[in-house]
C-alpha cells in the first residue's frame, strides 16, 4: 500500500471526516509532490482513517477482527494464569505478613527486565521450537504478576491492625479472618492491582508481534514491512484505543462493584 496514494484517497473519500478541512489541500499537494517531501501528520491521519474504514482490512486472517481476537485471547489467558498465581500468593503472604520485601522487590525487578528481551529469549529456548504460543504466554504472564501480587500484599498488610486484633478476639480462625475481614477491606487495592496488570498486559501483548506472534501489534509490524505509514498509524490507533478501553472498563467495573465508594480514594496503585 503506497502511503502517498492512501493519503490522497482519504482526502477525496471522506471530506472533513477526521481531518481538518484546511489539511485536505495540503495533503493533496503532499502526495502529489512525491515521497521525497516530508509527509504531513494530518495527511497520515487521513490515510490511517481510510485504512480503518476499508472493510477489506477487517476480514480474513490478517484482518483487524482476527488480530483483535488473538490479542484478547493472549491477554485473557495470561490474566487468568496471573490471577491464579499472584492473587493467592499475595493474599497468603499479606495475611502472614512475611516476605513483603520480596514481593515489592519482585515488582521493581520486573520493571528492569525488558519484555522484548524476555520474549526473545523464551522464543529461542526449546520451548519456542515446539510452539509459537507458550513462550509469549509465559513472558506476558510473568509481566502481569508483579502489580497483582504487590497490590494484594500491600492491601492485606494495610488492613487496620486493631480490626484484625478485634476479629481474632472474637475467635475467628485464620481462614475466617482472611475471607471475612482482611479480604473485603483489602479489596480496593486488590482491584487496582488487577486493573494495572490487565492494562499492562493488553499493552505488552502488542510486542508479541515483534517476535513472530499474533495480535493487533501485527498490523503495526506489517505496516512497517509494507512501508505503509497509514497502516502503521491505523494499527497504533487500534492498539491505543484497545488499551484505553480496557483501562476504562476495569475502572468502571471497579467503581460499580465497590460497595464502599469513599474508600476508593486510598487505592491508587503502582503502575508497572
Amino acid at each position: 500500500m503506497d502511503p502517498g496514494g492512501g493519503a490522497a484517497v482519504s482526502a477525496a473519500a471522506i471530506p472533513g471526516a477526521a481531518i481538518p478541512a484546511a489539511a485536505v489541500p495540503a495533503t493533496a499537494i503532499q502526495s502529489a509532490s512525491g515521497p521525497e517531501a516530508r509527509p504531513l501528520a494530518a495527511g497520515y491521519l487521513g490515510g490511517a482513517w481510510s485504512w480503518l474504514t476499508s472493510s477489506a482490512h477487517w476480514s480474513g486472517d490478517d484482518g483487524v477482527w482476527h488480530r483483535l481476537l488473538e490479542h484478547l485471547a493472549y491477554s485473557g489467558v495470561c490474566l487468568g494464569l496471573a490471577l491464579l498465581i499472584a492473587l493467592p500468593a499475595g493474599i497468603v503472604l499479606g495475611h502472614l505478613g512475611r516476605f513483603g520485601a520480596l514481593a515489592v522487590n519482585l515488582a521493581n525487578a520486573g520493571r528492569a527486565v525488558p519484555t522484548l528481551a524476555l520474549m526473545s529469549v523464551l522464543v529461542l529456548t526449546p520451548l519456542g521450537n515446539r510452539s509459537d504460543y507458550w513462550p509469549l504466554v509465559i513472558a506476558l504472564t510473568l509481566f502481569c504478576l508483579p502489580p497483582i501480587l504487590a497490590n494484594a500484599y500491600v492491601g492485606m498488610r494495610e488492613v487496620d491492625r486493631d480490626v484484625v486484633e478485634a476479629a481474632r478476639g472474637l475467635g475467628m480462625t485464620g481462614r475466617q479472618l482472611v475471607f471475612r475481614v482482611e479480604l473485603p477491606l483489602a479489596r480496593p487495592l486488590v482491584m487496582t492491582g488487577i486493573r494495572a496488570g490487565a492494562v499492562q498486559l493488553v499493552a505488552t501483548a502488542t510486542l508479541a508481534a515483534l517476535v513472530g506472534g499474533g495480535g493487533l501489534g501485527r498490523i503495526i509490524t506489517e505496516g512497517f514491512a509494507l512501508q505503509s505509514t497509514p497502516q502503521v498509524v491505523a494499527g497504533a490507533v487500534l492498539v491505543a484505543v484497545l488499551a484505553l478501553a480496557v483501562e476504562a472498563v476495569f475502572w468502571l467495573a471497579e467503581r460499580a462493584l465497590d460497595p464502599r465508594r469513599e474508600r476508593r480514594a486510598r487505592g491508587r496503585g503502582r503502575r508497572g
Partner: protein, 277 residues
C-alpha cells in the same frame, strides 16, 4: 551492527526495509535458521562474522553463552550500549525538564492538576509500540521519535512523584518559612525542594529503570540500543547475541538504579537515619 536507517528525506522508506521486512515471516526464518548454519549471517545486515571459521565452536554450535561472541563483537555491543544509554539519558532528562513546570503549574492552580495527571495517565496507557508508531509521521525514522515517546512515558511517573513530594511537605514548615520572610521562590528552592527530594529522586529512579527497558522497543524504527541486537539476533536465531544483549539491558537498569540510589543517599542523608529508602 544494528541497522542505522538513513534519516532525513525519505529516510523511512530507505531505512525501514532492513528491520521490518522480516517481521512478515519471523517464525519461518526461525525454522529455516535452525538447520545448523552459522548464526548471525542470515541476511540481517550484521557485520561479517569474521571469527566464525577460527575455531570458535560456541558460535558454530549457537550456544547461549559464548565468550567468542563477546570478544569478536565487543565493538557492536559497546555501540549498542552507548546508544541505549544516550537514548535513556535524553528521555529522562527531557522528562524532568518538562515535568518541573507541569508540576509547579499543577500545584499552583488546582484545576490544572486533574487534567495534567489525567493526560499523563492516558499517555502512559498507550502501548510503547503504538506510541512510536503514532509519532512516525511526525518524526520519521529517527532517534527523536524514540526519545519523544519515552519522554512522554517518563512524564507520568515524574509528575506524579514530584507532586506527591511537594504535597508531602508539612504545612507547618511552609508557614514557618513564610513567617521567617521567605518568598515563594526561596521557599520552593530552600525548604520545599529538599523536603520533597526523596520522592523526587525515587520518581527519577523508577522513570530511569522503566525507560531502559522500553528503549528496546525502539528497535522497530532501528533506534533501540540493545533492542536492535535482540531483534536481529532473534531473526537470525543467534542465541548468544539475544541473551548477551538482554542481560546487558538488565545490567544497565540495575547499575543506573544503584547509581541513582547512591545519589539519593548522598543528597538526603537524613532519610538514612530514619531507616527509609
Amino acid at each position: 551492527m544494528f541497522v542505522k536507517p538513513a534519516c532525513g528525506k525519505g529516510g523511512y522508506r530507505a531505512g525501514s526495509t532492513a528491520p521490518s521486512m522480516r517481521h512478515l515471516t519471523p517464525r519461518a526464518e526461525v525454522r529455516a535458521g535452525e538447520g545448523g548454519a552459522v548464526p548471525g549471517t542470515g541476511g540481517t545486515g550484521d557485520g561479517v562474522l569474521s571469527a566464525a571459521g577460527g575455531g570458535s565452536n560456541c558460535l558454530v554450535a549457537n550456544d547461549w553463552i559464548c565468550g567468542e561472541y563477546l570478544r569478536t563483537r565487543a565493538h557492536d555491543l559497546l555501540d549498542a550500549v552507548g546508544q541505549h544509554l544516550v537514548l535513556t539519558a535524553e528521555s529522562v532528562l527531557a522528562g524532568i525538564v518538562v515535568a518541573i513546570p507541569l508540576t509547579l503549574l499543577a500545584r499552583r492552580w488546582r484545576p490544572v492538576a486533574g487534567p495534567v495527571l489525567g493526560v499523563t495517565t492516558v499517555l502512559y496507557a498507550i502501548p510503547s509500540l503504538a506510541m512510536f508508531s503514532l509519532l512516525l509521521p511526525v518524526f520519521g525514522l529517527s532517534p527523536s521519535l524514540v526519545v519523544t515517546g519515552l519522554t512522554l512515558y517518563s512524564l507520568t511517573i515524574l509528575v506524579r512523584n514530584f507532586l506527591a513530594g511537594l504535597r508531602g511537605v508539612p504545612e507547618d514548615v511552609r508557614e514557618a518559612a513564610r513567617g521567617m520572610g521567605y518568598g515563594p521562590v526561596r521557599l520552593l528552592l530552600e525548604v520545599e525542594l529538599p523536603l520533597a527530594l526523596p520522592a523526587v529522586l525515587t520518581g527519577v529512579r523508577i522513570a530511569t529503570v522503566s525507560t531502559v527497558a522500553l528503549v528496546t522497543v525502539g528497535a522497530i524504527v532501528g533506534y533501540g540500543g540493545l533492542g536492535n541486537l535482540i531483534l536481529s539476533g532473534l531473526q537470525s536465531v543467534f542465541k548468544a547475541q539475544v541473551l548477551t544483549a538482554s542481560v546487558l539491558c538488565v545490567l544497565i537498569a540495575v547499575v543506573l538504579d544503584l547509581l541513582l540510589l547512591g545519589v539519593q543517599r548522598l543528597l538526603t542523608p537524613w532519610t538514612r537515619a530514619a531507616g527509609q529508602r
